[in-house]
C-alpha cells in the first residue's frame, strides 16, 4: 500500500459534483438566502457587522492555513519523490502562532463587548410590553394600557398537511400581531407559563428565553416600519415549530389608533360577559376558540392523542358536571395550562362547544357571567 496511492478517484468525484450541480440548477429561480436577515434595529445592525467582520477574519486565516496545507499536500508527496525532512520543533514558530490568534481574538472581543453593553441597556424605554410564552402561543400585555391579547398561528391545518397550497407567510402568520410604534424604544419583559420558550425576531437582533417564574428583559427600537416575523427558538414541546411571532412596526399615529381600538374591543368583550348568550351564538364562537386553542392537543375531532392528551369525546369532564369542566379550564391539569388568558365569553363558548359538539350532546350551556363569577373566586 505504500506504492503510489492516488489522491482521489476522479470518476466518482465528477459524478457526484454533477448530481449536486444539476440539483441546484433545477431550482435556480429559488431564493438562496446566504446571510443574516437585513437588520432594522441598531443592535441587529451591529450584530450583522460583527458577524461579517468575524467571517472575513476567519476566512483569511482559513485560506492562509490551508494554502500551506494544500501546497504541502501537492509538493511534499512521496509519489513526486519528496523526501521527508526530519524536524519536529520550532519554538519561535510555536510562540508566534499562539500569540497572533490571541491578539486577533482581543481585537474581536472589543466591538462585541460594546454591543453586549448596548443590548443589555433596557433603561429609558418609551413603553413596556409583557410577553408570556404558552404552549404554543404568545400573550402580549401592554402594561399600563389595559391591552392584552393572545397571538396564535393562523396557517390552516390543510396547508400543513399538504392538502392546500401553502401561503406566502406559511407558518409565519398570526391572528393578532404585536403592534409597536417605529422609532420608539420598546422594552419587552418576558416570562412563560409552562415551559421555556424563546422570543425571537431576527430583524431586531433580539432573542431571549422566556423562563417560567422569572422575568427577563430585552429591548428594541425599530427604525423602519414594516411587518417582521420570527419564531419560538427554544424547544417547547410538540407544536414548537408552530408558534410564530409577528411584530408590526407602524407610525406613532397608527399605533395610537390601534391601541384605542384594542381598548374599545376589550370593553365590548367585557360587556359581552354580562349579557345572556344564546346557545347557537356560543356554539359558533366556541368552534373558533376550540380550533385555535384546544385542537392542537385534543385534536379537531375531539379524539385527543392518548395518553398525553385525553379525548374530549365522551370524556368524564366534558360530559359530567359543568362546574368541574369549567374548573379544569380555569386551573389546568398536568400538561394542560390554565386558560385564564381567554376572555369570559371565549371560555363560556368553548365549554359549551365541547359539551355539545365533538360527538358530545350534553345539552347544557355555560354563560359568560358564570365564568366571570368562577374567575372571581380563583
Amino acid at each position: 500500500m505504500n506504492k503510489k496511492a492516488s489522491f482521489f478517484p476522479s470518476k466518482l468525484l465528477s459524478a457526484l459534483l454533477g448530481t449536486v450541480l444539476s440539483m441546484v440548477m433545477g431550482s435556480a429561480q429559488a431564493a438562496y438566502e446566504l446571510n443574516l436577515k437585513a437588520p432594522v434595529t441598531e443592535i441587529a445592525g451591529q450584530i450583522y457587522n460583527l458577524h461579517m467582520l468575524i467571517v472575513y477574519v476567519c476566512l483569511v486565516i482559513f485560506v492562509v492555513v490551508f494554502s500551506v496545507m494544500f501546497y504541502s499536500i501537492y509538493k511534499h508527496r512521496k509519489s513526486v519523490g519528496h523526501k521527508a525532512v526530519q524536524f519536529h520543533e520550532h519554538h519561535m514558530l510555536e510562540v508566534v502562532w499562539t500569540i497572533i490568534p490571541a491578539l486577533i481574538l482581543i481585537a474581536m472581543a472589543v466591538p462585541a463587548t460594546k454591543t453586549i453593553f448596548a443590548m443589555k441597556d433596557t433603561t429609558a424605554a418609551d413603553m413596556t410590553v409583557k410577553v408570556t410564552g404558552y404552549q404554543w402561543k404568545w400573550e402580549y400585555d401592554y402594561l399600563d394600557k389595559d391591552v392584552r391579547f393572545i397571538s396564535t398561528l393562523t396557517t390552516p391545518q390543510d396547508q400543513i398537511d399538504n392538502k392546500a397550497e401553502k401561503g406566502e407567510n406559511y407558518l409565519l402568520e398570526v391572528d393578532n400581531p404585536m403592534v409597536v410604534p417605529a422609532g420608539k424604544k420598546v422594552r419587552v419583559v418576558l416570562t412563560a407559563q409552562d415551559v421555556i420558550h424563546a422570543w425571537w425576531v431576527p430583524e431586531f437582533g433580539v432573542k431571549q428565553d422566556a423562563i417560567p417564574g422569572f422575568i427577563k428583559e430585552v429591548w428594541f427600537k425599530v427604525d423602519k416600519e414594516g411587518t417582521y416575523r420570527g419564531q419560538c427558538a427554544e424547544l417547547c414541546g410538540k407544536a414548537h415549530g408552530f408558534m410564530p411571532i409577528v411584530v408590526e412596526a407602524v407610525s406613532e399615529d397608527k399605533y395610537n389608533e390601534w391601541i384605542a381600538s384594542k381598548q374599545e374591543a376589550a370593553k365590548t368583550a367585557d360587556a359581552g360577559s354580562d349579557k345572556e348568550w344564546t346557545k347557537e351564538d356560543l356554539m359558533v364562537a366556541g368552534k373558533t376558540v376550540y380550533e385555535k386553542n384546544c385542537a392542537v392537543c385534543h385534536q379537531a375531532s375531539g379524539a385527543g392523542l392518548p395518553p398525553a392528551f385525553p379525548a374530549l369525546t365522551g370524556s368524564k369532564v366534558a360530559t359530567g358536571a359543568i362546574e368541574g369542566h369549567l374548573d379544569i379550564i380555569l386551573k389546568g391539569k398536568n400538561v394542560m395550562p390554565k386558560w385564564t388568558m381567554l376572555s369570559d365569553v371565549d371560555i363560556a363558548a368553548v365549554t359549551t362547544y365541547e359539551r355539545n359538539a365533538l360527538g358530545n350532546a350534553v345539552g347544557d350551556v355555560l354563560q359568560p357571567a358564570a365564568v366571570k363569577a368562577a374567575r372571581a373566586k380563583l
Partner: protein, 529 residues
Amino acid sequence: MSTTSATHHDDHAHDSHGHPTGIMRWVKSTNHKDIGTMYLWFSFTMFLFAGAMAMGIRAELFQPGLQFIQPQTFNQLTTLHGLIMIFGAIMPAFVGFANWQVPLMIGAPDMAFPRLNNMSFWLLIPAAILLIASIFVPGGAVAGGWTMYPPLSIQAGMSMDMSIFALHILGVSSIVGSINIITTIFNMRAPGMTLMKMPMFVWTWLITAYLLIAAMPVLAGALTMLITDRHFGTHFFNAAGGGDPVLFQHVFWFFGHPEVYIMILPAFGILSTIIPTFARKPLFGYASMVYATAAIAVLSFVVWAHHMFTTGMPVAGQLFFMYSTMLISVPTGVKVFNWVATMWQGSMTFETPMLFSVAVVFLFTIGGFSGLVLAILPVDIQLQDTYYVVAHFHYVLFSGAAMAIMGGVYYWLPKWTGHMYDEKLGKWHFWLTTIAFNVTFFPMHFTGLAGMPRRIPDYSQQFAEFNMISSLGAFALGLSQLLFLYVVIKCIRGGAKATNQVWEGAEGLEWTVASPAPFHTFETPPQVK
C-alpha cells in the same frame, strides 16, 4: 463460579488455552482486545441505528409541510438521535480504541482492571435497551431534546425516567471505564515509557478520562434532581418553590461542555497518530500538543454557559463566558497548526486513514471557526437554536469525531484483523462520506443565518431549497456508511496479509507485535529507550 479463576490461577494460566469460546468468550471476557472489539461493534450498531433516525428526520424535512411523521414523533427522533449518537456511538467508539490501543501503545499486558473493563462494556447494553425500549412505552420516547431541559422534561412520560436511568448507567460505565484507563496509563507503562514519551493518543485519552470522571458525576447529579422534581416533589427547577429551570442548564452544561471535548480529544489523538505516519515525519510540537490538550481540558470547565447566552445572564456572566470561550480557540488553533507543520516537508502518501485525517483537519477547522462565530455573544443571540448551531456541531462531531473514528478504524484494522482492507473501497467510502457530509451540513449554515430554528418538523418556504439539498446529502451520507460496514466485514473475512509494521512510517509499540495482534501481548514488558 466465584473463586474458580482465583484458585486455578498461576502465573502462566492466562493464555488462550482453557478460555471459553463462542458467546462465553465475549460475555466473560477479561481481555482488552475482545472488549475493545465489543465496544467498537456496539458503537457501530448504534451509529447505524441513530443514523436511521436521522434519515427519518431528513425525510420529513425534505419539503415544507408534514409528510411522514407527526411533530411529537419528530421531536422523539431528534432527541434519540442526539442521545444515541453521543452516548451510544461516539463515546463507546473512543473507549473501544482506548481498549485496543492504550495497552498496546504503552506496552502493558492488559488494562489495569480487566473485569471492571468488561463491566463497563456490559453496562452499555441495559442502557441501550432502556433508551430504545422507551420508544414503545405509552407516550413514546423522550421528545425534549438530548439536553432534557425542564420544565419540558418534567412534563414527559415514563420514557423520561427510562432515559434518565439509562444515562445514570452509562455514567457508571464511563466513570469505571475512565478510572481503568487512567490507572492503566499511570501504572502500567512499560519501563522507560515516561509520560512525555507516550504516544499522543494515550495523552489525549488520559486527559479525556480525567474530564469524564469530573463531568459524569455532575450529570448524575443533574439527572437525580430531575427525577426528584418529577416524582418526589422537590422544587429545584420550579420557580414557585424558589428553584430555577436555568439551574438545570448550568449543571447540565457544566457536564455538557467537557463532554464536547470528551468527544473530540481522542479524535485529536487519532489524527496526531495517523498524520505523522503518512507524512513519514514525527509529530510537530509534541510538547505543545500535550500542553494544548491540557489547556483545553482546563478551559472546558469554565466555558459552559456559552450554551446559555439567551437565558438572560447578567452582563458580567455573559462577558466572562464569551472571553473564556474565545480563549479556548487558541490551544485548538495550536493543534491545527501543528498538524499542518507535521505535513510540511513530509513524504506524504494518501491511504484511506490519511485521507480521513486530512479531511478532519480541514472540516473540523470549519467547525472551529463557526464555533468562534458562535462564541461572539451578540452574534450567538442571532444564531442560538438555529440550524447554524446544527451545522456547527455536526462539523465538529461528524467531520471531527466520527470521521476521525473512521480514519482510526482503517488505520488499525490491519493490526486488529491481520488483513489489509480493500484500499479502493476505502477511498470510495471516504469520498462518498466527505462529499455527502458537506452537501448535508454546509447549507445548514445558510438556513441558520437566514433564521430557521432547529428542532422544528416543518418550516416556512424560504428554507425549502437548502433543506432539500441537505436531505439529499443526508440520504447519500447514510447509504455510504453501509459501504463502510461492507469494507470492515470484508477485511475481517480476508484480504492481503498485513505485515507487523503495516504502514511504512508507523512508529510505536503496537507495530512491534504480530498482525493480528495475539490474544496476549507484552506479558513481559518491553523496554522503551
